[in-house]
C-alpha cells in the first residue's frame, strides 16, 4: 500500500436517521483503491443502513456529515448516477422481479453504463459472450439468466447472482452487504472466489459481515467494528479473529 493510492470513499462524521430514529451517529471511514475493508458488528448496529445510504436508498435521511466517492459528493446523486460512477451494492436480500429476465435486466444495466461512457450498446452477440464469461466467474448455471430476476432462486443462488451482476458491471467500489448470510460452505467459496477474481489494485471492496468465516476467504486489509451507529474500533484482520473468539461484548466493553 503506497502513498499514491487513490481515494475511493471518504465518509466523514455521517449521521443518518429513519423517521425520528438515529441509526448512524458519526461514521468516519476512508477506503483507498486496492483495499478491502470489512465492517463487522452486532445486529442493529447500522451496517446495512450504511450500505443502503451509500447506494442512495431514499428511506433514510442524512442529517449531518458527508460521503465522497472518487472525489464526487455521493449524497447529492440519485442511486443510478452513483452506480454509473462505479459504485455497486450487493444486497443482503436481493429483490425478486417476476416477469423480468436476468438477461434483459443486465442488458438494460450494462447499456445504461455504456451510454454514460459514450459507448454504443453491445450487440446481442457481444452481450451474450460477456454474460457467459461472467457467469463462469461465479459458476452460475446459464439457465438462470432466462428466468425472472432472483425468482425461485435459493439463498445461495441469489448471492451468486449478486456477484455475477457485480462482475458484469465491473464497479470501482463494491459494497457487499452480508453476502455470506445464508450461504453454505461451497456457495461461500464460490462467492468469495468471485470477489477475489474481480479484485484489482484499482478497485476496492467494503464487505459487511456478521461472521469472521467470510474473511477466511476474502482477506481484508482493514476491519472495522460498527456499534450503535459508530465505528468503535478499526484494525488489521486479526480484529476479526478477536471478534470471533471473544465476541462483540468484549470489544464494546474494552472501548
Amino acid at each position: 500500500m503506497g502513498k499514491t493510492q487513490r481515494d475511493m470513499l471518504k465518509i466523514n462524521d455521517l449521521y443518518v436517521s429513519i423517521g425520528d430514529r438515529e441509526i448512524l451517529s458519526g461514521v468516519t471511514l476512508e477506503v483507498k483503491a486496492g483495499e478491502i475493508h470489512a465492517i463487522m458488528g452486532p445486529n442493529g448496529s447500522g451496517k446495512s443502513t450504511l450500505a443502503a445510504v451509500l447506494a442512495g436508498r431514499e428511506t433514510f435521511t442524512v442529517t449531518k456529515g458527508s460521503a465522497y466517492f472518487m472525489g464526487v459528493d455521493l449524497l447529492a446523486l440519485p442511486p443510478e448516477e452513483r452506480a454509473r460512477l462505479g459504485l455497486f451494492l450487493g444486497f443482503q436480500y436481493p429483490v425478486e422481479i417476476p416477469g423480468l429476465t436476468s438477461v434483459n435486466f443486465m442488458k438494460a444495466a450494462v447499456n445504461e453504463q455504456r451510454k454514460y461512457k459514450h459507448l454504443p450498446p453491445l450487440s446481442a452477440g457481444e452481450f451474450l459472450k460477456l454474460m457467459r464469461e461472467k457467469m463462469a466467474v461465479v459458476e452460475m448455471d446459464p439457465a438462470f439468466v432466462g428466468r425472472g430476476v432472483n425468482v425461485g432462486f435459493s439463498g445461495g443462488e441469489k448471492k451468486r447472482n449478486e456477484i455475477f451482476q457485480m462482475a458484469m458491471l465491473e464497479p470501482m467500489l463494491a459494497i457487499l452487504d452480508e453476502t455470506d448470510s445464508g450461504l453454505d460452505v461451497d456457495a461461500l467459496r464460490v462467492v468469495a472466489n468471485g470477489v477475489n477474481k474481480l479484485k484489482t489494485k484499482d478497485n476496492a471492496f467494503v464487505v459487511i459481515t456478521h461472521y469472521q468465516r467470510l474473511l477466511d476467504y476474502i482477506v481484508p486489509d482493514i476491519v472495522h467494528v460498527l456499534y450503535k451507529g459508530r465505528i468503535i474500533k478499526s484494525g488489521s484482520k486479526e480484529l476479526a479473529l478477536e471478534v470471533e473468539n471473544k465476541g462483540y461484548d468484549h470489544i464494546i466493553s474494552g472501548t
Binding site: 443510478e80 422481479i97 443486465m106 438494460a108
Partner: protein, 345 residues
C-alpha cells in the same frame, strides 16, 4: 382534397405493421366489409344481413393462417356505429383471428361491436382483440361465445388506448371437455375509463376455464373489473380459475374489482383472486443501484407486470409485435402522436 383516403387504396394508406407473412387481412370501414363476399378453402366471408359486420364460417385447419380483421372508423361517419359479427367454426375447425380496431380522426366516435361466436365440437379458436383508439372515442365490445364438446377458445383482449372502452364477454361452456382461456390487459391514463364485464358459464361438467386480467392505470384513469364464474348444479368436475391484478401508478387512478364465484355443483375446483398494488419501491431501488434510471426502472417493472398476459399469446410474431406496442404505450409515446390516431399499429 381529403387528408386520408381509404378505398380503394386502403392498404396503401393504412400501414398495418402486424407481421404479415401468411396473415389474411380483411378490412371493414365503418362496419362495412371492403372486399367481395367469398368462399374459399373452407373460409366463408360475408356481410351481415343488414349489410354491416362480418360473418365468418370456417371449416378445416387454419391455425397457421391467421385472419386479421382491421376495422377502421373513418371521418365520414361521426355518428354512433353498431355492427354485428357472427363467427362460426365447424366441428374440428381451427382458426386464429386478430381483430384490430382503430379510428382515424379525433372525433367523438362511438362504436359497438358484437361478436357472436360458435365453436363446434373439437373446434379451436385463438382470438385476439386489439383496442387502439383515441382519447375521445367510446368503444364497446360484446362477445358471446358458445362452446360445444371439447371446443377450445383462447381469447385475448388488449385495451391499449381509448377514451372509454367497455368489454363484455360471456362464454357458455355447453358440453363436456370445453376449454376457455380468457386474458385481458388494460392500459389507461388521463381520463380514460376501461371496464371489463366477464361471465364464464359452466353449463356442463368437465369443462375448464382460466382467466387472467391485468391492468395498469396512470394519472386519473379508472377501470372496473366485474367477473363472474357460474357453475351450474350438474356441472361436476368443473375447473375454473380467475385472477385480476392491478397496478396503480398514481393516487388518483382508480380500480374497482369484483371477482365473483357462483357455484351450484359440489365436485368442483374453483378459485378467484384480485390484487391492487403500486410499483415496488425496493425493486425500483434495486434496478437503480445497477445504473438503470428511475423512469426506465418503472418501465421495466410495468413490462414485467404484464409479461405473463403477453406470454399467453402463442403466435410468436404477433407476441413480439405486441410487446413493442405495449412498451411504446407505457412509455407514453401514443399521446405524443398528435397528427395521427393510429399509434403505429
Amino acid at each position: 382534397m381529403k387528408e386520408y383516403t381509404y378505398m380503394p387504396e386502403v392498404k396503401r394508406v393504412f400501414q398495418c405493421t402486424v407481421p404479415g407473412g401468411n396473415i389474411r387481412q380483411v378490412f371493414l370501414i365503418d362496419g362495412i366489409l371492403q372486399e367481395k363476399e367469398s368462399e374459399q378453402n373452407g373460409v366463408s366471408l360475408t356481410s351481415g344481413p343488414d349489410g354491416k359486420g362480418l360473418q365468418l364460417r370456417i371449416s378445416g385447419d387454419h391455425s397457421e393462417n391467421p385472419i386479421q380483421i382491421i376495422s377502421v372508423r373513418s371521418e365520414d361517419l361521426p355518428r354512433p356505429l353498431e355492427f354485428y359479427n357472427t363467427w362460426e367454426l365447424e366441428p374440428g375447425a381451427k382458426a386464429q383471428i386478430v381483430v384490430c380496431d382503430h379510428t382515424l380522426r379525433e372525433y367523438l366516435y362511438q362504436t359497438v361491436r358484437f361478436s357472436n361466436i360458435t365453436l363446434g365440437e373439437g373446434a379451436v379458436l385463438d382470438l385476439l382483440f386489439m383496442q387502439n383508439e383515441h382519447g375521445r372515442s367510446r368503444y364497446r365490445l360484446e362477445v358471446d361465445a358458445q362452446l360445444k364438446k371439447e371446443a377450445r377458445l383462447d381469447c385475448h383482449i388488449l385495451s391499449l388506448y381509448g377514451g372509454t372502452i367497455q368489454n363484455k364477454v360471456t362464454v357458455h361452456l355447453q358440453e363436456s371437455g370445453a376449454v376457455c382461456n380468457l386474458d385481458g390487459l388494460y392500459l389507461a391514463d388521463g381520463e380514460q375509463n376501461v371496464t371489463y364485464d366477464i361471465e364464464v358459464r359452466h353449463n356442463s361438467g368437465e369443462c375448464n376455464s382460466n382467466q387472467l386480467f391485468k391492468g395498469i392505470l396512470d394519472e386519473q384513469a379508472k377501470a372496473r373489473f366485474d367477473g363472474i364464474i357460474y357453475v351450474a348444479p350438474h356441472a361436476q368436475k368443473t375447473e375454473a380459475f380467475q385472477a385480476n391484478h392491478n397496478l396503480l401508478l398514481t393516487r388518483d387512478a382508480k380500480i374497482t374489482t369484483l371477482p365473483q364465484l357462483e357455484i351450484y355443483a359440489d365436485d368442483v375446483k374453483c378459485s378467484h383472486g384480485a390484487t391492487i398494488g403500486s410499483l415496488d419501491p425496493l425493486g425500483l431501488f434495486y434496478m437503480r443501484t445497477r445504473g438503470i434510471p428511475l423512469s426506465e426502472a418503472k418501465m421495466l417493472q410495468q413490462m414485467a407486470f404484464v409479461q405473463d398476459v403477453l406470454e399467453h399469446v402463442r403466435n410468436g410474431a404477433i407476441r413480439s409485435r405486441l410487446e413493442k406496442i405495449v412498451e411504446s404505450r407505457l412509455r407514453g409515446e401514443f399521446t405524443k402522436c398528435t397528427h395521427c390516431t393510429m399509434h403505429c399499429c
